[in-house]
Symmetry: C2
Subunit: 231 residues, 2 copies
Amino acid sequence: MTDSVAAAATTTLADRILTDLTTAIVEGDLAPGEKLREPDLARRFGTSRGPLRDALRRLESRRLVVTTPNAGARVVSLSAEQLIALYELREALEGQTARLAAERISEQELGELERLLDTHEQEIERRHGREYFRQQGDLDFHFRIARASANALLYDTLCVDHYQLMRLYRTKFSNRVGRPHRALTEHRRILDALRDRDGELAEFLMRRHIRTARSAIAETSAVSSNKETTS
Amino acid sequence: MTDSVAAAATTTLADRILTDLTTAIVEGDLAPGEKLREPDLARRFGTSRGPLRDALRRLESRRLVVTTPNAGARVVSLSAEQLIALYELREALEGQTARLAAERISEQELGELERLLDTHEQEIERRHGREYFRQQGDLDFHFRIARASANALLYDTLCVDHYQLMRLYRTKFSNRVGRPHRALTEHRRILDALRDRDGELAEFLMRRHIRTARSAIAETSAVSSNKETTS
DNA sequence: ACTGCTATTATTGTCGACAATCTAGCCCGT
DNA sequence: ACGGGCTAGATTGTCGACAATAATAGCAGT
């Protein structure tokens, strides 16, 4: 489900710690900026510090923790500037996945995408479309396109290296009224472009779609930074 | 020189191993696909396996080694398909850096880029422009633009995570006659676009520039795979 | 000779302890 | 009272040894 090719059945301790720590961070159990003390965490997961350090290193490569030599690891805490940078990265990567997907997506994948968007529409209409599920679904749409781009490196960079980071910083900003409908429409247009095998248009629409989300963030953070300077 | 902000003066053992192993891989001292046995490497670098495993994990995040659980690490060995995927990733990332750099680059950085290209021209003319130096210079141009994009995440993804991998797989393909001149011209056009603050054009030119290199690779690998099937 | 199993070996995964470094609180001098 | 240096505690970095898993070589049987 998560990885590309059939993952090895054997699961090492560091693997388990990695997933547990990841959920702990994303669910907010470990707050952004919080110090991650190796002895504490080792006790918490019932292992020694060896596998734990291993897991921390992998979390670092997924940008969920930042480490400074001799000073340990902290949960990542993105500034508004860094969050915008993340969206600028997404815009580039996902634009390319859309372009490539238009050339390479299969009929079956097109059908699955269509059904996915139908589900989203229903969710939004009966207002079960509350944040949590909708967000997951939104990312699901984006990641299926990444998979359809048939570029494992692009897929990994997006869906492995930055997936949890996006999840972590998504909650706070995508709750403007009317946005779900708008986003769904944008998704449908992108799907149309894919079906037409129009890579150029698919990229254009995908980039604009992400840029829209980025703008919302930029506004929000501008407001909050104003509040800071005012208070 | 390598990192963005002033790197901490303290250098841990894992850091030293990381750089040494990186050069060993890029210089070809460790061949692609070669098994990396932890006890051997630990002896080679005169440390224990702890810091070595640490370094291996970081090399994994830079995609220079691939690790499978309980089976150890190997030096990366890209297939033609994966190499093309790398260039598709570069096209997306560097196109975006060019676009952003057009908005954000300083006059001083513009001047430095111009001087760099002048140096390249001289190198090419007196045919000191043999592969090694030219490649370094080429990457230098690309990375200065990444820096000028003022997006630390984009810069790191390109210049930290994928730099050595690009170095490793660059030697083999960029030696077509006349290509240096052509590439220099393309670089100058990109610089023009940056100076004009024309982000859209800068992105277009950068993407085409990288796509050209990718096509050369696709041809070469097609030829070699033909040879394989013929033999 | 070849296939399949078994035992040995080697390599990776994990652990606890020691050394080096950083952090925090205290004491002292001005 | 305030600041600087010093000591004590805690935390990270490193090491060597043990356990678990995988790879290999040898052997037996067909």
